[in-house]
Structure formats: C-alpha cells, structure tokens
Symmetry: C2
Subunit: 205 residues, 2 copies
Amino acid sequence: MLELAILGLLQESPMHGYELRKELSAKLGAIRAAISYGSLYPTLRRLQAAGWITEAAETPATAEEIPALTSRRGRVVYKITAEGKERFADLIAQTGPESYEDTGFGVHFAFFARTDRATRLRILEGRRRKVEERREGLRDVLSRAAERLDAYTLELQRHGLDACEREVRWLEELIANERSGRTPDGSTPGTDPGPSRENIPPPPG
Amino acid sequence: MLELAILGLLQESPMHGYELRKELSAKLGAIRAAISYGSLYPTLRRLQAAGWITEAAETPATAEEIPALTSRRGRVVYKITAEGKERFADLIAQTGPESYEDTGFGVHFAFFARTDRATRLRILEGRRRKVEERREGLRDVLSRAAERLDAYTLELQRHGLDACEREVRWLEELIANERSGRTPDGSTPGTDPGPSRENIPPPPG
DNA sequence: GTGCGATGTATCGGGCCGATACATCGGGCC
DNA sequence: GGCCCGATGTATCGGCCCGATACATCGCAC
C-alpha cells in the first residue's frame, strides 16, 4: 500500500523523505494518521532497488563551496522513473481483495483522479460488497448473540453498524455519480473545463 | 492488543484457538474483521511462556480408548491463570497513547464491563481528544490546502471529517452517561438490578 | 463412497509501527 | 554574543500482526 502511495505522490513532483511523509499525511489524512519512518525509508530503498524510483542527490548551485569535511548529509530527493510510472499504473489497475480493505480502499480512492472509470467502479462496488458483509455480520451479532454480550460491547457494535450503513450510502452515491459521468464535486469533466485549475493531469484512458 | 483481548476472553471461559478466534470476531467485529492465526497462535505461545495462561489438553472421559498411534492432535484448550488475571487488570488500568488509537480504543472499550469508571472516563476522554485532533487536521486540509487536491481526495477527506464529527458526538454522549452513572443501555447499575441476566461480573473497584 | 465445507493447529515471509538516535537550521530570549 | 528549542531531516531495530499456505479430522449430502 505504501508503495502505491509513494509512487503516486512522486508522480506529481520529486520529493525527499520528510516531505513525502507530510504530503502522505495530507493526502491520506482521512485514512491513517501519519506514516512511520520505520516504514517509509525501507520502502524507499525497496522501490529504488526495484528501479521504480531514483535518488537525485540535492546539488545546490554553490556545491563547490561545501567541503566534504562537514560530512553534510544533504536531503535525498527521490524521483519516479518510467518503469515506476508503469508499475504505478499496474498497481492501480489490478484490483485485489486488499483494494476493498479499509486502508487499501482509501489509498486507491485517493488516486482515483489517476484511475480510469471502469477500475473506479470495480473498486467502489467491491468495497461496497465488503462493507455490506461487515454490516450483516454486525446485524447478526446484534440480533442473535445480543444476550451473550454486555451493554458496552453492544454499544460498540451499534456504533460500528451505524458507520457501515453510512459508508454504504456514501458508496452508493459515488457509484451513481460514476455511472452518470459526474465527479465528486458535481462537475462533468470534458463538457465544461471552466475556470478550475488542476495540477493533476486527466486519468489515462 | 491481542494479548489484552485474549486475556479478557479467557476470563469468561477456557477456550481453544479456533473458538477464541470466533469469539474475538463476535466481540470485536466492529473494530477488525477477524484475527489471523498467524497472530493468534504465536501470541498464545507467548502468553503461555509468560505464565498468563496454561494449556489444559482436552482429555475425554474415554481417554484410555484412544491409542497413541493415530497421533490424534486433540484441541488445545487454554485457561487463564491467577497471574493472567492480574496481568489483564494491569493492562486495563494503564492507559497509554495506544489506548486512544482506533484498534486500541476498540479493544479497551469492548472490555469496559470489566473496567472501573475512572479508567473508562480517562479512555473516553483521551479518545475524544485524539479524534478531535484528527478532525482539526482534516478541517485544516479542507480549508487551507483544498486547491492543491483533486475532487476525489477532497471527497475522501470530507467523508473522514464526517466520521470524526460523528464519533466525537458519540463519545460526548458516552462521557455524559458515565458522569451521571448510567451504562450505555440506559440502566443505572446498583439501584435496580431488575430482570437483566448478566454473564459478566461487575467491574472491580 | 466420495467429495466438500466446517473445524482445528501451525508456520513463514513480509509490511508496518513505535521508539530511538543523531545531525542541522533558524529564531527567540537573556 | 551565546544558548536553547522546535522544526527539519535521515536512519535503524525489535516486535506486532497479516495473508498465504499446509495439513488433518469430522459430519453430511449426494
């Protein structure tokens, strides 16, 4: 999941680790709090070893002024490669069971602007199915095993059930919008570009 | 977290692994889907090594009939020890930052029936603070960085923000109930035992 | 009688986290 | 002028937990 997110972000511009973490928090704030460096740096090294990204060491214009003595550890800027872009497209297109999980779905959704509509629909529907199953499980427990559980546990299930029902409704709306060719902000792309300034290129396909 | 959940469940009755997994799913269904065996069995072994639980191999009444030849691998029933009960009480009482995280809070909450009121309040308030911070972060992104993000990412943040606001309201209610001495089902324990049949003993303290 | 789904125990590789360490830089404060 | 502190920045380590996989038994339907 981190791999997908990093590849996606680096496609917008090259970044160093710290920056990547902050952007990740902004983009995925609704999904997870903040990525740990204990995940970030090993993943960056893995991506680099695979050739999806390259390390573009920061070289300021006055590079010759800096002596090696200080052992100045410059910021390491990462940049996505052509293979990396391919990899990202593959990861986005191939929807597996983990694309419907809480985190996986969130990351995929965050990059829907770079995803073709057919894939978007597949993911939204898969997620809906998943949440519906969870909802049914909670209903079963609440109706069939309620007397085995204490008041607090039941309250927890009720709250979870409520969240499931809300998410299903949310997904229904999004699916309906996709089918009618609308984006979440209500605009219909392609018919009226309007005054909106996008820093994200249109999805492939 | 798994440690706490297992100790809590085994306090209600001895169980074997498979059963534990099912009960865990019933009790924590609102928090996580189903625990993996890849977590469950190693944790059981860890708890056993620490002396918190003991392995009570199933010995049917007709044990002598079963020859060793078949290498019948009977179900392994686990039972909590006195030290395990102490450990559980310690884990419940000591609220750390991870008690306010999604999963940690859920597990703690699921065992509120075995938690004293002061600790319940501490956890509910810590959780509220945590969710409020998350909510503020999302509001900031939506108001200050909205133009940097695409419509899908914004929609994701809006949905997350909505979930945060709902949870805060839910927590407010629970906190108010705790302060006025009510349990989630609206009853006031200690004043009217009534016809309710509890299989859970009252909380310590 | 045969296959199949539920029951049941167990391991392995890997992703991700929290804690920790260490270094630089800019600005406020005395 | 000097000092500390919080933000910036890179990096590792131990450990929790997951998904995939393997293997065995039991009851039941076909």
